[in-house]
């Protein structure tokens, strides 16, 4: 087994699951699993469980979006939280009830002040705005090599942070943006998760996706085949920004209020870590990672509260998470799903 040979852990999750499920594509099985869990929680879960599940689904969509760029291009982006922020703020501007909006944001241009979108158009518009921003940032970034690109994405994150914190007329600056209609419905996010996975899968299987992955492994050979690295990365960035913007919309809807700080370093680390733990080379990894981490963190938090049979000090969940990410990077850098690409 290649996985065992390369890492010596003797266990390849991918291999095991494939044997278990036979010929069903892994991604399809995982997606079905997610959908089933979502529906069950909607039907039988407590409010608390619903909130946790929706958070997990939001993370899932975010990480799937992140994978769409990172997994296919091999370039690590530290800036995607910026797209999530745009998605969240855009949906706020589009869905806050008009009266509340005029109080919170008195200086909005009229087309925004009067905008009131239903959920579906709001979601799509918010995601589209994020994708639009990706067009702007993509042009300089997609031609940069590995580490330069990563530093550029970091710069992008910082720029978004500064702009959101200071463009008070549009965003209330560092004050909390609030008033977004709350929703604890799990079905909506579940459907969006399935859609997001579908979009990521479709991109992955597309010609552009294949070409981009070719550049990930061997850039020079790919270029000699006429593949334009910049162009393929650009497309991947757009799709991924769209998905991440979508997760921002759902986030806004779940929490109802937020500020720029919510889309900065912490969420960046958490989502990257989820992708790394799951396995950055595959869409399956992008699904497994957030699910495993969400479940694991939930168990840890219950242990912190003492409602589990073990009890651990408060805040240990973060420590465990950080240590685990580091361990994965050192011992099994290709994550749970390993080196198999799917």
């Amino acid at each position: 087994m290649e996985g065992a040979q390369m890492t010596g852990t003797g266990f390849d999750l991918r291999e095991a699951t494939t044997r278990l499920l036979g010929r069903i594509p892994l991604v399809a099985a995982l997606t079905a699993g997610v959908a089933i869990v979502g529906l069950l929680v909607q039907a039988y879960g407590s409010d608390e469980l619903k909130t946790t599940t929706i958070t997990g689904l939001i993370d899932l969509i975010m990480v799937v979006g992140l994978y769409t760029f990172i997994g296919n291009s091999g370039v690590i982006s530290f800036g995607h939280a910026g797209f999530m922020a745009i998605g969240a703020y855009a949906s706020a501007l589009l869905t806050i009830p008009l009266v509340t909006k005029s109080v919170l944001l008195p200086d909005l241009p009229s087309f925004l002040a009067n905008a009131s979108f239903a959920p579906l158009p709001a979601a799509l518009t918010a995601a589209a705005v994020a994708a639009l921003l990706a067009v702007v940032i993509g042009i300089p970034i997609v031609r940069l090599a590995g580490i330069q690109a990563s530093i550029a994405t970091f710069s992008f994150l910082a720029i978004v942070q500064v702009v959101l914190s200071n463009w008070t007329a549009l965003t209330r600056g560092q004050m909390t943006m609030t008033g977004i209609p709350l929703s604890i419905d799990v079905v909506g996010p579940t459907i969006w998760a399935v859609v997001a996975i579908g979009i990521a899968y479709a991109y992955k299987q597309s010609r552009s996706g294949f070409r981009l992955r070719a550049t990930r492994e061997d850039e020079f050979s790919a270029r000699s085949l006429g593949i334009s690295v910049g162009r393929e990365r650009f497309i991947a960035l757009l799709v991924s920004a769209f998905l991440v913007g979508l997760s921002g919309y759902l986030y806004a809807r779940l929490v109802g209020s937020f500020s720029p700080q919510n889309f900065y370093l912490e969420i960046t680390f958490i989502t990257l870590a989820m992708l790394i733990i799951g396995g950055r080379n595959s869409l399956a990894g992008a699904i497994v990672g957030p699910v495993a981490v969400t479940v694991g963190l939930e168990l840890l938090r219950r242990a912190e509260d003492g409602s589990f049979f073990v009890s651990i000090p408060a805040n240990s969940s973060d420590i465990v998470f950080g240590a685990l990410t580091l361990a994965v990077l050192i011992l099994r850098p290709d994550g749970l799903m390993g080196r198999r690409f799917s």
């Binding site: 530093i151 998470f321 990077l329 050192i330």
Partner: protein, 295 residues
């Protein structure tokens, strides 16, 4: 005229601080191709050590703070970064992110997430008047310390065997080993120096803000990243120059931007970083080899 002089002093002082920050990141990048996000955590620890020891005489406080920076840097090298030697740059960067997150979480667990105010020595908030210009003592100390450190570092890099080995490592780490240079030692020295620089930068930084909390240092390390890019990845001297230029640039932008836009100063700075990466990836003094463009 006095205003300009004021801005110049501010620029120099900020430049001095940024140069120290950038050097800490640049030294490690030079030997390991690691953009060390954990540098911020080293700074943060220095702040906490300051907080706990500030009532002691400064001859005790300062060595303790410096030691804390050095020790933490060496510990992170041994535990997190040594196993990752040879990994690609992005993996290293994410790992350093994880280390920073881990240390920050540990600090939250131990000390809580609330800010702690540091009753810094009164002399630090004093100012003197030179040629009719009010200059903060802290500014003078920043500039002076930075100048001394840079000189010391330059001498170390150019006049000692270990310094020579470090410059060689920055250019071709493997070849240094083929000549008999000890990899472990060179990297450890780079980290120790980084930790030292982080602690000193921390002292200067916290003397100004007088407050420390687990997230402190992250802004500083972002500045360090930017400065290293401006100066040129792969050039230690470039890092110092980049840091200095960044401090001056930031102050200049602050002065030059119209009032409505000056709050976006940092956005402009980061925008310049992106432009640099696109148009002059090797920065001011960097190696072309580290600055490959894709297309």
């Amino acid at each position: 005229m006095k205003e300009i002089a004021q801005y110049v002093v501010n620029g120099l002082s900020l430049g001095a601080l940024d140069a120290l920050l950038a050097l800490g990141v640049g030294l490690i990048f030079g030997v390991m191709r690691l953009v060390n996000f954990a540098q911020g955590a080293y700074i943060m620890l220095a702040g906490y050590v300051l907080f706990f020891t500030i009532s002691a005489p400064w001859a005790v406080v300062i060595p303790l703070t410096l030691a804390a920076g050095v020790v933490l840097a060496l510990v992170t090298e041994r535990i997190a970064f040594r196993p990752l030697r040879g990994a690609d740059g992005s993996t290293l960067m994410v790992a350093s992110f994880a280390v920073a997150f881990l240390i920050q979480s540990l600090m939250v667990t131990i000390e809580g997430s609330g800010p702690k105010s540091i009753p810094i020595w009164p002399v630090m908030s004093d100012s003197v008047t030179l040629f009719g210009v009010r200059i903060a003592v802290l500014d003078l100390i920043s500039i002076g310390t930075s100048a001394c450190l840079l000189t010391g570092l330059w001498l170390f890099l150019t006049r000692t065997r270990t310094g020579l080995a470090m410059r060689a490592a920055a250019e071709d780490f493997e070849m240094l080993r083929f000549l008999g240079g000890r990899a472990d030692r060179v990297i450890a020295v780079a980290f120790a120096l980084s930790g030292l620089l982080a602690a000193i930068a921390g002292i200067l930084l916290f003397s100004q803000t007088a407050v420390v909390e687990p997230g402190a240092g992250t802004n500083a390390v972002l500045i360090a990243f930017v400065a290293t890019v401006i100066g040129g990845l792969g050039s230690v001297l470039g890092a110092a120059l980049g840091g200095f230029s960044l401090g001056v640039l930031t102050t200049a932008l602050q002065a030059a931007l119209p009032p409505g836009l000056s709050v976006y100063r940092d956005a402009f700075v980061f925008g310049i970083v992106i432009a640099l990466l696109v148009f002059r990836p090797q920065g001011l003094l960097g190696n072309r080899a580290d600055a490959q463009r894709v297309v």
